[in-house]
């Protein structure tokens, strides 16, 4: 019997670690997606930014963030700060059994959590591409991953007030994706559009990304990684019920992504008469973000429907952001993760009888409000102290030169 409990603990730990590794892989996905969607002169910089932010997130979340998010909170709004990384569960406690017995390694939990905060941070990276100072971005990353993200994470996953009112966000459509998008929106408002993005009369100018295979690869990587993101968020696999749940999550995650592609494909085909690859890549991500708030309750058919709406929605939102609100977001991060994230959170109420519209709306408002406002303040401080934007000439020459002194494709001639 004891061996069974050990085995169960081992399986759940292993499941966590593999899920976490898949989520870590999403960092590569964001890096490739963004490297494909910027111009070649800003490619080295965005790669450095992505690998740097993942590293900062890993370290800051260990040092501070995790302890805020899962520490002993002062109250349900204000988290505490407790240092507990290190000691893991004793075998005796595990085999003692009972409801409180740990059923997987704390460190595996930490590993799974740390890659989530990196995901949120990656979302910001794409939106501010091609014009932000690298060091300013890293400065924000430190605060975001140490404090801003963990505080709101505490509200739901750490047992704070959002969990108390029944806000439901399975794997983080809101806590991770919309939070990232809120920080990104604050950044773009402070930063402004890329030079040349809008004409003198406000007309939108296309700024095509340099490398579509990279962008597509990034999307495939994210799709794969999402099985860890959503699948691991069931938090346990070792019983029939949990195993079935994880399987359901995999199936629904895949179908929502597929339907998101089809949604964006249809929208782009109807609106432009062409199949806009970047839109269908965003469609896949929109499908994934949509279902992340609840990949478990819907039937596979409903999951596909939720993803389909996400994929349709994202095309319209991206165009609206661009044309109407003049929010210049080179990779569509704010639309994909923010607006579609909200859609995902609202869609929870269709399938999950325990979720309420009110709780979802409060959750959206609280998370968005907190992250947006605190980010706005942090960005403003950074702007005042070291500036956020490269000079016009540097922007024209490309950030690869000013920030990294290195070209991404030094040999390939320009058209």
């Amino acid at each position: 019997m004891e061996q069974v409990m050990e085995l169960s603990y081992a399986l759940d730990t292993f499941y966590f670690l593999i899920s976490g590794a898949l989520v870590m892989w999403m960092a590569a996905g964001f890096a490739m997606l963004e490297a494909g969607l910027v111009r070649s002169k800003n490619t080295t910089e965005i790669l450095a930014k992505n690998i740097g932010l993942f590293s900062i997130a890993s370290l800051m979340y260990m040092l501070v963030g995790y302890n805020i998010m899962y520490g002993d909170g002062i109250n349900s709004l204000i988290p505490g700060l407790s240092f507990f990384l290190g000691a893991d569960n004793a075998t005796a406690d595990v085999i003692a059994g009972g409801d409180d017995a740990p059923y997987y390694s704390n460190l595996a939990d930490f590993f799974f959590q740390v890659v989530f905060v990196a995901t949120a941070m990656s979302i910001v990276s794409g939106a501010v591409a091609e014009r932000m100072k690298l060091m300013s971005f890293f400065a924000f990353a430190v605060v975001m991953t140490a404090v801003i993200y963990p505080v709101q994470g505490y509200w739901t996953w750490g047992g704070g007030f959002l969990s108390e009112i029944g806000f439901s966000d399975f794997a983080g459509s809101g806590i991770v994706h919309m939070a990232g998008a809120a920080a990104a929106l604050a950044a773009v408002l402070i930063l402004g559009a890329r030079k040349g993005k809008y004409g003198p009369n406000g007309e939108v100018r296309a700024i095509p990304g340099a490398n579509m295979p990279m962008a597509a690869l990034g999307t495939f990587i994210l799709w794969l990684g999402w099985f860890g993101f959503n699948g691991g968020s069931q938090l346990q696999v070792s019983t029939v019920e949990n195993a079935n749940a994880v399987a359901m999550v995999f199936v629904n995650t895949n179908l929502a992504a597929a339907a998101g592609v089809i949604g964006a494909l249809i929208a782009s085909r109807i609106m432009f008469g062409k199949v806009d690859l970047t839109m269908i890549l965003n469609g896949a991500l929109a499908g994934l973000v949509s279902i992340t708030a609840d990949p478990l309750s819907p039937t596979p058919l409903s999951a596909a429907a939720i993803g389909l709406v996400g994929g349709l929605l994202v095309v319209f939102v991206i165009i609206m952001m661009d044309k109407k609100f003049k929010i210049d977001d080179p990779v569509g991060a704010i639309s994909v993760h923010g607006v579609v994230g909200i859609w995902g959170l609202l869609a929870v109420v269709f399938n999950n009888s325990e979720a309420t519209l009110v709780a979802q709306l409060i959750g959206i408002a609280a998370i968005f409000g907190w992250v947006f406002v605190s980010s706005l303040i942090v960005w403003s401080i950074i702007k005042a102290v070291i500036g956020v934007r490269v000079t016009e000439e540097q922007e024209y020459q490309g950030l690869d030169q000013s920030e990294c002194g290195m070209e991404a494709y030094p040999e390939f001639g320009k058209k």
Partner: protein
């Protein structure tokens, strides 16, 4: 000696080279170019924003020929490069005052 500069459609390059070969003109230097003119470009789309690709890919040939070959060469290039559709390109003839083959230091027609 003259320098013939011909702007043609890229897929006609091989035909033109063969036509020149047939009249014993073997040397030439080619560069990729973009052309603007009467021929219109096309529209592309990127994340919902349409934009015009106004330039058209062309190939620029530069051929040093002896004076007595000029007419023949123009003829050959024109015939080989012609599709009859707009955008076929141009031929310009310009004077060369001196020509040198770097390898041998030969000058004049023999250097071509």
């Amino acid at each position: 000696m003259k320098l013939i500069v011909a702007i043609i459609k890229p897929f006609k390059l091989d035909d033109v080279r063969e036509a020149l070969h047939d009249i014993d003109v073997h040397g030439m230097t080619v560069t990729e170019a973009k052309g603007f003119g009467r021929q219109k470009g096309h529209t592309e789309i990127y994340r919902g924003a349409e934009y015009a690709i106004e330039f058209l890919p062309k190939v620029r040939l530069e051929i040093g020929v002896a004076d007595d070959k000029v007419e023949q060469a123009i003829e050959a290039i024109g015939n080989a490069a012609r599709t009859g559709k707009i955008g076929d390109g141009k031929i310009f003839v310009m004077p060369i005052e001196q020509a040198v083959r770097i390898r041998t230091e030969e000058t004049g027609d023999i250097a071509l």
